[in-house]
Every structure is written in C-alpha cells, then in structure tokens.
Symmetry: C2
Subunit: 207 residues, 2 copies
DNA sequence: TTTAATCTGTGAACGTAAACACAAGTTGAA
DNA sequence: TTCAACTTGTGTTTACGTTCACAGATTAAA
C-alpha cells in the first residue's frame, strides 16, 4: 500500500469495529467478513475494508478476517494492546457511575486513582479505591497514568484539566459541558450529554 | 439564499453554538461576532457564518449577531423552541445521574417519567419522580413524550428501544454500548463512554 | 457627507472522505 | 485440474464539507 494520509474518520471508527470484533470473539466466532461486520453496525462493507486498508492488509480473500487476529491488530493500531491507567477527578454521582462502569475493562482501561475536593468524601472508598484530596493530585506522578477523566462541575473543569496536564496526562475524557483548553499534544474528548440530546429534536417533525 | 442541501455537520454544530450563545446571554452580552464565537469554541469564524447561512441570514454586517435573537432562531431551527418531555428507562446508577443532571434544562428538556424492571425500585422516588414498572410503559402514551433515554444493560437495550418506538417515541438517547435497530423515522444517538475513551490512546505516543 | 474600519453572507475553489468497481487471491466441488 | 463462488484490497470516481476571498452592509469618526 502506498503512503496515504489516514482519515480521522477511519481512526474514529476503529473502536467501533473493535467492539464488534470483541463481541464476536466472545461468541467464539473464528472468522468474519466485512459484510458481516458491516451488517452489525449498519454501515457499508467497503467502508470497513477501506478503513482497514489504511493500516495494512489484515484479511484473506475468499475467507474474511480472523476475528482474534484482527482484534489484536486493531488494538495495536489504537495503542490499546497495552493497558492504560486512568485518574478520575470528581467523585460525585457521575464519578461513581464512571467508576462502576464495567465497559472500560474490555478495552484494557483501569481507573487507579480518584480525587475530589469535598472534605466529606476524601478518605472514603468507592469501588475499593479511596478518594484523595484533589490538591494532592501530584501523587499520580509515581504511577504510570496517562489518561484523565473529568467529572467535576463546569467551573472547575479548566483548572482540573490544567493540573492534569501538569501531571503529564496525555488524554482527557471530559464530562463537563464546556470546552477546555490544553496544549496541542494533549487530546481531549468532551462528552456533553445535554448537547447530544439537543441534537435529536431537529430530526423530529414538530408536532 | 439559493436552496442547498444542509450538511449534517452544520446541524451537528448548532447545539454547540447554542450553548455558547446561552452562556453569553447569561453574561448579558447583547451582540457577538462570528470571530468571538469562533474563539470560544476554537473553530474558524467563516465556518460559523457558513453554518448559519444554510438556515438564513441572522446577523448584521459591521455589528455581528444579537445574542438573544440568534439563540432564539437556532432554538427554532433545532426544534428546541418548544420544551420536550423525555422518558428515562433504567433507574440504576446511571439513570439516577441522568435524572439529576442539571444541564438538560437550558435546552428545554424535562424528564417526566422513569421506568425500571427491578421490583425493589418500582414505587420508589428519585428526584421526585416515582419509578414505574417497565411493563407499564404504555402509560406514557397519555403524556406528550417524544424522547426516550435508555440506561439499561446492553442485553435489554434493543427490547426497550422497540417498546419506546411502539409508544411513539421519535428520538432516543442510548447509553447502552450497542447499536440498536429502529425504523428510519426514529433518530438514535448512542453514547458509548468506553468507546470514546478508547479513542484517546491512538493519539498518545506509546511509552 | 465622506472616509475608514468593521463584519456578514456567500459563490467559488479546494481538499477530503465515501462510494464504486474490479482485479486478484482463496476455497471447495466437480 | 478446472471452474464457480466468494471475499479482500485498492485505484478511480463521485459527493460532500471546508476554506477562501470578496462584495456589500453598517457604523463611527472626520
């Protein structure tokens, strides 16, 4: 394959494909075709093949893809072949849900530290992790944590992000409904539930 | 303006612009330029002007946009000028967080019904809404509810979605980590936290 | 009234991604 | 060994979205 710029969209879709593959793997399926995968997600098979082709040739003509092999390769592309440690800031209701969320494991994520600024919460444990004072965030420097999850009120989000960047965090999942500014080398993904909900009514014919 | 197909991406960005406008409105700002708005989100001003232009001309050359007027117009475009009622299915930890989430209000959303299948939860109240048996979902037909929020385990998600569609729900916000099949007229947005997190490590140089 | 500064709205140019079509590889049956 | 059925990988075409550049509208100052 000649060199070609990899579309952001292709990278964006890989985790989706990976989820499907891991599900097939659970069902002990050995091989899967682009058609099967496509049906699973409601996309076109050529889209999937094209996306894979940016990263190499993983399949066998006439057969399809080895589920196990392909999922391993996608994990490698996404840098998910090694497990990642994450720090959670904000131990409120949302923080508790995130901590208890079972879905992180299949991607190899582990939340190993939790911080909050509420004195009543500091020292308590949720999901077997004791909540520490956010002013002691530098504690995470000893561990190899490269991801941060922000689940604090909007007004505190930017400050927390700044601190996380100082501590060497490379990627941030932000649940506060606001943009946060970080150096270019740090990747931020913001999840804004209300905004997502606000996208629905456009497609609903008004009553 | 000549007729032109409106890019999905433009629609997608409108709720973002709206959030910025509502924030400016809180600060009693009267007018705002595309440049100001753009700086706020880290995008280009011509992108914003172009996006608006698909829906009409809202600004004044030499002045900018009236914050209040523009936000009203965007709300109208997004069909957010009327408030929307939503039903929540799944009163677990995640459900409780969603119910308590303060961000829905500014877009005019209100969760007016909650369902679960756990007998221990049915009858209890959270946020002053009593949890009802999911088998009695048809109760919502009397109310004018057009949005559904799914916060149940993956295996139950499709079934819940089917029921919601039966009840006439037009849009679904799905927090289960799976695709759900619905008729074309129903719009679904799926939020998969783990998948979003899985998108980060690609951008992190491996250690 | 004139001029300079400001800012919007939009056609056109450009760049990127999706969709297509098919060559080439693989399998299994005849 | 041959042929038919199947599936991948990718160059090309088409569609779409972004960026650009500027005409035209507005304001404020001279």
């Amino acid at each position: 394959m000649r060199y070609r710029k990899i579309p952001d969209e292709a990278v964006w879709r890989l985790p989706m494909y990976l989820r499907g593959l891991l599900l097939s793997l659970e069902k002990s399926q050995e091989t899967i075709s682009s058609q099967e995968l496509a049906d699973f997600f409601g996309v076109h098979p050529w889209q999937i093949r094209k996306d894979f082709s940016y990263f190499g040739a993983f399949g066998t003509p006439g057969v399809g893809y080895k589920v196990k092999k392909l999922s391993t390769q996608i994990k490698k592309i996404l840098n998910l072949h090694v497990s990642h440690k994450a720090v959670l800031v904000g131990a409120g209701n949302l923080g508790a849900v995130i901590l208890a969320y079972p879905g992180f494991k299949i991607y190899g994520f582990e939340i190993t530290a939790v911080f909050d600024n509420n004195p009543q919460k500091i020292g308590q444990k949720i999901e077997n992790i004791s909540i520490k004072d956010v002013s002691k965030l530098s504690l995470i420097k000893r561990q190899k944590i490269d991801l941060g999850i922000i689940a604090v009120p909007r007004k505190a989000a930017q400050e927390v992000a700044d601190r996380l960047v100082e501590m060497g965090i490379k990627g941030i999942l932000n649940f506060s409904p606001c943009r946060i500014n970080v150096p270019k080398k740090v990747k931020v993904i913001t999840i804004d539930i209300a905004m997502d909900l606000a996208r629905l009514p456009y497609y609903i014919p008004s009553s």
